[in-house]
Symmetry: C3
Subunit: 334 residues, 3 copies
């Protein structure tokens, strides 16, 4: 890392330092560097084979995760990624939302990938909105984006995506509100972050904390992301700009291959702490394992009443995979 102002928010990952809660993944942001615009940030990412046939991106050798680290910059910054391919497969890193030359496209079309064992640098630039002809503006880079392999298995990286080579990328606009917690949720075929219930992530926050969700879709199937007891505006930030902001408020959103969105909620605000569900709302997907827990603890970090029982119920129920088995499970015959 090249920058003294880097703040590494290790989020909810086992062994994370300085956090009371178990953690799932890492993150790199340069928020503290927002004062000086247009900086170049350098980061080394290691693509590694993981147990179970998976692959992951990580910030240091032996630390690859699925999804990979959440990367975060401000509009105007450049991110220079040195990708170290420690695997025996062709792979790359392809970003959505940012500016890159064909040599950093990450696709075999431009021979833009790492051969097995190879190290290669990818440069992602970003910028602010600028005036178009007339009174309109061409949009800047700000958004909840993502990155993924575009070279393993097929020219579209189908093999790498299937095996876990994906992660979140946030480009902030100056003045955006920063969260207390961040979660990356990838709906990928019948999995969440390549896991199925009851092994899906338990995301944790304390009551009232500002929690940022980065939701990404991958693979071949179509999904709808639903979060219980929380809602967000269907726009760039998840919040309303003013009383006349026309954005609808939603709690369920299509999350399909290659798409991503993000939003912030106040954990448990207006509803209280508890083991809230998040899940795909396609019925045979949620029944089949696309369901997880958003654990909102009390403000002091202690467990709220009922949450342990709920998690126990969640973990005790294996998912059902056919509609036939629903009858066995709960009984809904006429």
């Amino acid at each position: 890392m090249d920058d003294a102002v880097l703040s590494r928010r290790s989020l909810f990952a086992a062994g994370a330092v300085g956090l009371a809660v178990p953690a799932i993944g890492a993150a790199v942001s340069w928020n503290a560097g927002a004062a000086h615009a247009g900086a170049t940030r350098k980061v080394t990412i290691y693509a590694e084979a993981l147990p179970g046939g998976l692959f992951g991106y990580g910030l240091a050798p032996g630390q690859a995760t699925v999804p990979g680290p959440l990367l975060e910059i401000y509009e105007g910054d450049t991110l220079e990624i040195t990708l170290v391919n420690t695997t025996n497969q062709r792979l790359s890193i392809h970003a959505h939302g940012v500016d890159y030359s064909t040599s950093s496209d990450g696709s075999p079309l431009h021979a833009s990938y790492n051969n097995p064992g190879e190290t290669r640098t990818y440069v992602w630039r970003s910028r602010e909105m600028f005036a178009a002809a007339g009174r309109r503006f061409m949009p800047g880079s700000a958004g909840y984006w993502h990155y993924h392999d575009h070279a393993m298995g097929t020219d579209h990286g189908t093999g790498g995506v299937a095996k876990g080579l994906y992660g979140g990328l946030i480009v902030r606009r100056r003045g955006d509100i920063l969260p207390d917690r961040q979660f990356t949720v990838v709906f990928h075929d019948m999995t969440i972050n390549n896991r199925m219930a009851p092994n899906t992530p338990i995301f944790e926050a304390n009551l009232g904390e500002r929690v940022e969700w980065v939701a990404i879709g991958h693979g071949n199937l179509f999904h709808t992301f639903h979060l219980h007891a929380h809602r967000w505006a269907d726009n760039r930030t998840g919040m309303l700009e003013s009383i006349s902001d026309p954005s609808p408020t939603i709690d369920n959103k299509d999350l399909n291959p290659g798409s991503s969105f993000g939003f912030q909620v106040l954990a448990g605000e207006g509803v209280g702490p508890g083991a809230w569900m998040y899940h795909c709302h396609v019925q045979n997907h949620s029944d089949g394992g696309m369901s997880g827990i958003f654990l909102v603890r009390n403000a002091d970090g202690s467990m709220p009443p009922g949450a342990e029982e709920a998690i126990h119920r969640f973990q005790g129920h294996t998912h059902t995979t056919t509609s036939q088995s629903h009858d066995d499970h709960g009984g809904h015959g006429a």
Copy 2:
């Protein structure tokens, strides 16, 4: 009902009192009570078995329908629902968009359901938008939402949803324009409101009336809702806030499991009365029975020229269920 200002708009249901048109379903709204904010509204809902293996929610014993009654409150109101389970199944009522404690979540995860024969109260709260950090606002509860079973058959209520336990829920922002008519349209697997053409709902309005559509998606399949000869802004209300409202105008929108949206149109405005089609725009879904009629009568309620023939054609055509049969039906060989 606890409130003198309750207005029950019985919509287009057979036997409705005070309406000249046949009707499909019931609705409860407390619009007249908008003057005093933060009121608590109480309603009893009966979950019942229906013919054909269906289940429904109703506002009185023996009055259950598919979809259930359209519920409507203002931001700030609380809705206290006493759910009477008259069936021999475990079931619940789970809402989107509003605030509820874990005990009103409606999910088995929180043991929040009615056992067979049991009565249970669910409390849904709502609120207005409020300032976030910075200049933005956390969104309020206003929206076109829905409710559904979350406990029959599986932990996600797959059995109850499949059998018809769903309905619409509107939370209005103060100042919103009220409609003359309201329709609830649920795209659920290969059905509309658990019916297939030609038995899908015929929604009726008179020319120029302000008609509100509440569209809800359920089940396992993905759909696109299309309405002929009418369009709406793809935002919270379906209307534009100002000349610089950036919302696109559409007449076709994804309607996928767990999602909902709503909008208002002026019936026949600019196009005239007639038997206009609404349908899923996925070709094998519309051909397979996901199609219905929006009958716009003349302003005086009389039938416009050609409408009866069109309805006759619609009812005379059985839907085709395989792409092979298209050749038999219309002939499009080279």
Copy 3:
């Protein structure tokens, strides 16, 4: 054509006059006529059988294409289409977004179609936004719309749509920025414009040109449209109205049957020229042939370095159609 101000922008079609680049399709716009509002534009469209069992719409006999010509009017204009059916099939032309009477609906429901050999006139009207009750506005006709057959094969035109009877329709709001280039991209089952890679369209522009994409979905499958190295605001124009426009910026969007959207980008802006990919982001769709090239040439029209090799790679790679074949192709075993 009835109007001296008509400008026919023939886009990238082989044999186009006055353009240095190969071209794909035709377009009719009356932009130059924007000064006088409410004009009636007349155009004759020929529906024809094409090789390979396809059908197309064209502006003159023998000129039918898939997709058909891109039609373009201003809000307030009326488009009067004389459709000549030169085929031996029942067919029609049904528009999204504009106003039409039941007799111009294009559906068998209203006997609104051309029998084989028949000529029939369809009238599409449009209008500007107008005040609703309260401070809101009912939306006008402006949008990126489309037209398609609604009568061949089934009552929903499934046969005609499957065979290529579709095209783009733009209704502009006065003051909208006009593009230098326009592309129509139809994601239709496993094809792009009824073609599969490597025979999908190569869309071309010079560096810095303002390029307008009109994206349309058709058929039975669901897709996500992704464009490399370019992005747009997810709203009516693809641009931001102001710093407080809440629209998210995206580079991947659901493109499902019956839906359409459009946006403008500056070709290669911030990323440089090159053979950029556009593709469906559903992995087995992109691998299966839903991928194409957006060739951004140098500003002077010359080929940028690497572009020819990239196109050669693209054309040399046959698509893979099963997930099994991915292993053969690139190798991603553990």
